[in-house]
C-alpha cells in the first residue's frame, strides 16, 4: 500500500455537522480518525436524504456519509461518568482532538483543552464553533444559515426583491471545517517539531468572511456597502452574451463580454454556422456584434446619444442569442462554446455532474463498498490528488461500529 500523508496521526473527534467535514479531510489523507458519538448518533445521522434501497436510519444518511468517510465510530454516553472516563482516556491517546460543541460543553465533561493539555502538553486541540471560543457572542446558538448570515455572504446573494439567499450545502460548516483542517495541520507540524501542542480556535463566522469577495474592502476603503444584485448584477438591462440563458434542457451562464475568452463576434460565427444568426449580419447589428465588449459598453455610458440608438439593437441581439441557446442542450452549449474559447459555464444539475465527461475521464468518482448494505455505491472523489501519498476514501462507519475494538485496545493499553 502507498504511503499516506497523515500516516500515524491519531485524531479523536467529537463533532456533528459543523466539524465533521474537517475530520473527513484528515481521515481521507490517512489519519486514524475515531469519531465519538452519542447513543443514537448526532443530528447529521438523522439528516436526509437517506440511501433509499433500505429503510432510513443512522447508518444510511447521505448527509452523514459525505462528511464522515474513512473514519471509525465509537459510541460513548458523555452524560455518564463511565462514558466520560473512556472519552478522556481516548482523547489522551490522540495527537489531535477535534470538536464542534458549544463553548464550555467539553470542559464541563472533563474534556476541555486546558485539562487535557495539563496531562498531554503536545496535544493539538481544534475547536470549531459558530463564533469562536472568546468574545461577546461566543455563547450564541449556531446553525449553518446563522453563520452565513452573520459572516456576510448572504447579503450578497439573491434578487433585491427577495430575501437574501443562503448558499446550498451548509457552506458555513464546510468553510469552518476547511479552515480548521489547515489550522490543525499547522499545529500538528508545530507539535511534531517542538512537542508543544495548542488550541486551534475556528469561528464559522470568521471562516466565511473572506467569501465576502470585495465587500469588506469596499466598506473599508469607500464606505459603501455591496448589496445583492440578482441576475443582472450591476448592469440594469439584459446584455447579449452576459448572464443566464435558458437552453433546451436547462441553463447556461455566459461571460462572453468579460476579458479572457474569445470575442462576441466568435459567438456570432458559431450562430451563423448553425443558421441561427438571423439578421445579425445586417446593420446596425453587425457593427455592434463586431465590437461588443466591456470597453464598447463603457463607451456607451459616456455617450448617452449613442446609447439611445444602441439599446434597442442590443436588446434585439440578445433575443437572437437567447433563441440560439434555446435550440441547444446545456451541455452542447457549454462544451462547443468552450471549444471556441467562449467563456461560458453549464448550470450543472447533479446528473450533469455525475455524467460530466471531464470528471469521468479523470476517474474522479470512487466506488465505495458498503458491506453491510451489500452494495457498491459511487461517491464524489477527493478535492485533490497527491502524487506520492494518494488520498484513499473508504466508507463511513456505522454508528458505534468500532466501539468494542477501540475500547478493548484502550483497556489493553492501560493494563500494560
Amino acid at each position: 500500500m502507498a504511503d499516506r500523508a497523515l500516516d500515524g496521526l491519531r485524531v479523536i473527534e467529537f463533532t456533528d455537522e459543523l466539524g465533521s467535514y474537517c475530520g473527513r479531510l484528515l481521515a481521507d489523507l490517512g489519519a486514524e480518525v475515531v469519531k465519538v458519538e452519542p447513543p443514537g448518533g448526532g443530528r447529521e445521522r438523522r439528516t436526509p436524504p437517506f440511501y433509499r434501497a433500505v429503510p432510513p436510519g443512522p447508518d444510511t444518511s447521505l448527509a452523514f456519509w459525505v462528511h464522515n468517510t474513512s473514519k471509525k465510530s465509537v459510541v460513548l454516553d458523555l452524560e455518564t461518568g463511565e462514558g466520560r472516563a473512556a472519552a478522556r482516556a481516548l482523547a489522551l491517546r490522540g495527537d489531535v482532538v477535534l470538536e464542534d460543541n458549544p463553548v464550555g460543553w467539553m470542559a464541563a465533561r472533563g474534556l476541555g483543552f486546558e485539562s487535557l493539555r495539563a496531562e498531554k502538553p503536545s496535544l493539538v486541540y481544534t475547536s470549531i464553533t459558530g463564533f469562536g471560543q472568546t468574545g461577546p457572542h461566543a455563547g450564541y446558538a449556531y446553525s449553518d444559515i446563522v453563520g452565513q448570515a452573520m459572516g456576510g455572504v448572504m447579503t450578497l446573494a439573491g434578487e433585491p426583491a427577495d430575501p437574501p439567499n443562503m448558499i446550498y450545502g451548509n457552506q458555513a460548516n464546510v468553510s469552518a471545517s476547511i479552515e480548521a483542517a489547515q489550522g490543525t495541520l499547522l499545529a500538528v507540524l508545530y507539535a511534531e517539531a517542538t512537542g508543544i501542542g495548542q488550541l486551534v480556535d475556528v469561528s464559522a463566522q470568521e471562516a466565511l468572511s473572506m467569501s465576502q469577495e470585495t465587500a469588506m474592502q469596499q466598506w473599508d476603503l469607500q464606505k459603501t456597502n455591496r448589496i445583492r444584485q440578482g441576475e443582472r448584477g450591476s448592469i440594469p438591462i439584459p446584455l447579449p452574451g452576459a448572464g443566464v440563458y435558458a437552453t433546451r434542457d436547462g441553463h447556461l451562464v455566459c461571460f462572453v463580454l468579460a476579458p479572457g475568452g474569445a470575442p462576441f463576434s466568435e459567438l456570432v460565427n458559431w450562430m451563423r454556422e448553425k443558421g441561427m444568426a438571423a439578421d445579425l449580419d445586417d446593420e446596425p447589428y453587425r457593427e455592434i456584434c463586431d465590437n461588443l465588449n466591456m470597453g464598447f459598453l463603457t463607451q456607451l455610458t459616456r455617450e448617452p446619444q449613442k446609447a439611445v440608438t444602441a439599446l434597442p439593437a442590443l436588446m434585439h441581439i440578445n433575443e437572437v442569442v437567447a433563441a440560439f441557446f434555446a435550440s441547444l442542450t446545456s451541455n452542447e452549449a457549454y462544451v462547443d462554446g468552450q471549444k471556441r474559447l467562449l467563456l461560458n459555464g453549464i448550470v450543472s444539475t447533479p446528473r450533469d455532474l455525475a455524467e460530466n465527461e471531464q470528471l469521468r475521464s479523470r476517474a474522479w468518482f470512487k466506488q465505495l463498498e458498503f458491506d453491510y448494505l451489500n452494495a457498491l455505491i459511487e461517491f464524489p472523489g477527493a478535492p485533490y490528488r497527491l502524487s506520492e501519498t494518494p488520498v484513499a476514501i473508504s466508507r463511513p462507519p456505522r454508528l458505534g461500529e468500532h466501539t468494542h475494538d477501540v475500547l478493548a485496545a484502550l483497556a489493553e493499553r492501560s493494563v500494560s
Binding site: 489523507l29 439528516t47 436524504p49 449553518d144 446563522v146 499547522l186 456597502n225 453549464i346 450543472s348 447533479p350
Partner: protein
C-alpha cells in the same frame, strides 16, 4: 518570540486572481517567506479592479497598487516582477523555485506548458519541492483547457443549480464564491499534509487540485444523492429538511446601514421548543399551539404560511434586538450582516480582533482579513501590507537568486524584470 509553524520555508507563488494567492497568503501568515512572481506584461487583473482606495477629493486612486481586492489576498508577501515570456525570465523563475520548498500555481495547463512549469520540469531541479497546481478543471482530461474563473465555476460545479429560490433562474450567489475559502483552503490542506510527509521522508511531491473537483466534493449531498438514489435535488431557497422555520425574515429598515437599509434575521428552529421560544419572543405565544404550526410536520406542511406570519411579526423589530432576544432563548438566530456591520458594528468581531489594519504607502491604513484559524501558541501574523508591484525585485534578485547589481540592471533594461 515563538517561531511560527512554517518559519524557514520559502514559497514560490506563481499564482494569480483569488484561489492561488489566498492560499499562499495563509502560508505567509504562518511563517513562510512567500515570493509572489508577477509581471506587468501579464498583470494580475485584481490589481486593476475595484474597490480602489480614494484620493482626498473622493476620486479613485489608480495604478497597480490601490486595489483592496488584490491587497487583501497578498499581505505579508514579497513581489518580484519577472517576465516569464522571456527565456531568461523562465531561467530566473527556476532559480527561485530551486531555492523554495513550495511552488504554487493556478495557471491553466496551456500556460504551464508555455512557461515550462510542469512538475517533471520543476522536480528535476528541486526534488524536495512540493509543487501545488490548482487549475480550473485539472492538468489533463478533455476539458483541461476550458476557460473560467470563480463565477464560471459556480454554475459548472452545481452551486448555482442548488442555491437560491426555486421560482428564480439559477442566478448564482453574487460572488466568485469558490475562490475564497473552498479552493485555497483545500489547496493549503493538501500542501500541509505533503509537508508532513516530506518532514518524515525527505520526499517532495506533486499536489493537483482541480477547482471543479474541489468544489463538487464540498457540495453537500447533491451529487451523492444522484449517484446513490438517482434523485435530482434542486434549489429550495433558504429552507432546510430538518428545521422549520428556517428562513431570513424581514425586520425594520435601518437607514444608517449605508446603501443597504433592508434588514433581515436568519432563524432556524430544529425543534418545537425553539419554535415555541420564537412565538414567545415575538409576543404570539398562542401560535405555538396553533395546529398549523404545533409540530415539525405541521410547520413543514404550512411553511409558506409560517414564513408569511413570521415576517408580519418581525417587520417592526430592529434586527439586532430580535437576534439578541432569540439568542437569549437559545434559538439560532443571526442578523444578515453587511460589511459595515462586520467591520464597524459587530461587537463580537471587534472583540476578537479578526480584521487586521495595516499601513500601505498607497492605500493608507487598510483592513485585511485575519487568519480564520486562531492558534494559541503560534498565532498567525500579517507581517506587512500587500507588496507594491515589483517592490522586492531587487531584494529577491540579490538575496535569493544571487545576482549582482549590474546583472540586475541589465535584466531590467532587457525587459526580463518587468
Amino acid at each position: 518570540m515563538t517561531k511560527l509553524p512554517l518559519e524557514g520555508l520559502r514559497v514560490a507563488d506563481f499564482s494569480w486572481f483569488g484561489a492561488g494567492p489566498i492560499g499562499a497568503q495563509t502560508l505567509a501568515t504562518f511563517g513562510a517567506e512567500v515570493v509572489r512572481v508577477e509581471s506587468e506584461t501579464k498583470i494580475d487583473s485584481l490589481r486593476v479592479v475595484q474597490p480602489f482606495a480614494l484620493n482626498e477629493d473622493g476620486t479613485f486612486k489608480s495604478g497597480y497598487n490601490a486595489s483592496g481586492y488584490f491587497n487583501n489576498f497578498n499581505a505579508g508577501k514579497l513581489s518580484i516582477q519577472l517576465n516569464l515570456n522571456t527565456e531568461k525570465g523562465q531561467e530566473l523563475g527556476y532559480r527561485i523555485i530551486e531555492k523554495s520548498d513550495i511552488f504554487l500555481s493556478n495557471f491553466t495547463p496551456r500556460v504551464l506548458d508555455k512557461w515550462k512549469l510542469r512538475y517533471e520540469q520543476l522536480s528535476a531541479i528541486n526534488p524536495r519541492l512540493i509543487a501545488a497546481y490548482a487549475p480550473m478543471q485539472g492538468l489533463d482530461g478533455p476539458h483541461r483547457d476550458f476557460l473560467g474563473f470563480g463565477a464560471v465555476l459556480t454554475p459548472v460545479t452545481g452551486i448555482s443549480y442548488m442555491s437560491g429560490f426555486p421560482n428564480r433562474p439559477p442566478i448564482g450567489v453574487g460572488t466568485n464564491y469558490p475562490d475564497y475559502v473552498i479552493n485555497p483552503g483545500h489547496t493549503v490542506t493538501a500542501i500541509l499534509a505533503a509537508l508532513r510527509y516530506r518532514n518524515r521522508t525527505g520526499k517532495g511531491q506533486c499536489v493537483e487540485l482541480p477547482q471543479l473537483e474541489s468544489v463538487v466534493n464540498g457540495l453537500g449531498t447533491a451529487v451523492a444523492d444522484y449517484l446513490a438514489n438517482g434523485t435530482i435535488q434542486t434549489r429550495s431557497g433558504n429552507r432546510n429538511p430538518i428545521a422549520a422555520p428556517h428562513a431570513a425574515v424581514r425586520c425594520a429598515d435601518d437607514p444608517t446601514s449605508v446603501g443597504s437599509p433592508d434588514r433581515w434575521v436568519a432563524i432556524a428552529c430544529y425543534d418545537d421548543a425553539q419554535w415555541s421560544a420564537v412565538c414567545d419572543v415575538l409576543g404570539h405565544g398562542e401560535a405555538a399551539r396553533d395546529s398549523r404550526f404545533a409540530t415539525f410536520a405541521a410547520r413543514k406542511a404550512n411553511e409558506d404560511a409560517l414564513e408569511a406570519l413570521l415576517n408580519q411579526w418581525t417587520a417592526t423589530w430592529k434586527a439586532e434586538d430580535l437576534m439578541e432576544a432569540l439568542q437569549a432563548r437559545g434559538v439560532p438566530a443571526g442578523v444578515v450582516q453587511n460589511a459595515q456591520d462586520l467591520l464597524d458594528r459587530d461587537p463580537h468581531m471587534k472583540a476578537r480582533g479578526y480584521y487586521r489594519y495595516l499601513d500601505h504607502p498607497e492605500t493608507g491604513r487598510a483592513a485585511y482579513d485575519g487568519p480564520p484559524m486562531v492558534l494559541s501558541e503560534t498565532p498567525g501574523v500579517l507581517r506587512t501590507a500587500a507588496p507594491l508591484l515589483g517592490e522586492h525585485t531587487m531584494d529577491v534578485c540579490e538575496r535569493i537568486i544571487g545576482l549582482s547589481a549590474d546583472e540586475i540592471a541589465d535584466l531590467m533594461a532587457e525587459g526580463v524584470l518587468l
